[in-house]
Amino acid sequence: MPQLNPTWFISQFFWLCICFFFMLFLMSKVFIPKIKDIMEQRQRKIDDYLVKANQIKEQAEESLKKYQEALAQATADANNALDISRKEMNAYIAKKQDEMAKKLNARLLEGEAQIKETREKALKEVKNVSKEWALDIVAKLELTKIDAEDIKKGVEKVVND
């Protein structure tokens, strides 16, 4: 087997050392720093973006908090305004209802007075007409025993009953 031939052992080991250590030098001084550098730059960039993303997230959370506070405040204000309006409206309605009730009451009283007056007038009229008719009937029937005073009393008794 050529692999076990010791003639070339020293030569191979010598060139192996030269090649391997030269490659080690190249890698550690040239290529690895280049790769490391670009990867670190990338990591820094990613970290920067992450920091920015966190800042934006915090800002967004703060804005959301402010918005929620503003919304809560606006809701509370609106509820207060609604309460005040409701109270004002209720007071206004109560006031108007009172006014209307008073007016209606006054009208009712007025109507009742008118009705009473009209009724009294009508009764008076009925009495007069009844007296006249009774007088006419008595005159026509020639009932001399009944005078005007009796008729008046009789009519009033009938009407009042």
Binding site: Q3, S11, Q12, F13, W15, L16, F31, I32, I38
Partner: protein, 240 residues
């Protein structure tokens, strides 16, 4: 049919001798250099224009970086991340060595005991250095875990030493065996193509499937080699 072991022969390209030692630049050395050059070129091209939002090409080295980084973190902890370049280089070196060997007429240096054994030895020495730097003389405790009676030391210490030294050995054998077997299989099946004439289409198709499988094996073995190195590194960083 040619010998399937021929593909593992080492051919000197530039003969070099220093102090009686042969350190010739061979086809194996060439593919080690190519592994370095190709991986460096790939990274250079992919990382030419770096943007925060990565392009498809830029995401390739980034994905490898992330993958090895996670692997090291999971197996050896965050403390071991300071040794990331070593593990990262080891993964790329083995992965490119395996993958380049899949090209026709190429050479797979990861199928050679000396190359992979050397790499495993480097990893072992690296772990020992980390262990000694972290724990000073306390590192020797690796060979004599706490709670074991002193009377058992003559038995435990050699066992622990063998266990310690067998780590690079097992790493080497696993990778070398996988690469060797895969390439022998490819070569044997390829040998049938010319012999069978028109019927050679069948081994070509079969070999195409095996090449896809071998690409998977190449990456898997690089992954396994790296995972085990991470675990051994974890032992050095955190103790036995």
């Amino acid at each position: 049919m040619s010998n399937p072991m021929e593909q593992f022969n080492i051919q000197p390209i530039i003969p070099i001798k220093v102090g009686g030692y042969d350190i010739s630049f061979t086809n194996s050395s060439l593919f080690m250099v190519l592994a370095v050059v190709v991986s460096a070129l790939l990274f250079a091209v992919c990382l030419r224009k770096r943007t925060i939002v990565p392009s498809l090409s830029q995401s390739v080295p980034e994905a490898i970086y992330e993958f090895i980084s996670n692997l090291l973190r999971e197996n050896a902890g965050t403390e071991a991340l300071r040794y990331f370049p070593f593990i990262f280089t080891m993964f790329l070196f083995v992965a490119f060595g395996n993958l380049l060997g899949l090209f026709p007429y190429s050479f797979t240096f990861t199928s050679h005991v000396a190359a992979v054994g050397g790499l495993s030895l480097i990893a072992l020495l690296f772990n020992v250095c980390i262990g000694i730097r972290k724990k000073k003389w306390g590192y020797l405790r690796t060979f004599m875990p706490r709670g074991i009676p002193a009377a058992l030391a003559p038995l435990i210490v050699p066992i622990e030493m063998i266990s310690f030294l067998s780590k690079p050995f097992s790493l080497t054998v696993r990778l070398v065996a996988n690469m060797t077997v895969g390439h022998i299989m490819l070569k044997i099946i390829a040998g049938f193509v010319l012999v069978l004439g028109v019927g050679g289409v069948v081994p070509v198709l079969f070999n195409s499937c095996i090449v896809v499988f071998e690409i998977f094996i190449a990456l898997l073995q690089a992954f396994i080699y790296t995972v085990l190195s991470c675990i051994y590194l974890s032992d050095a960083v955190h103790g036995h």
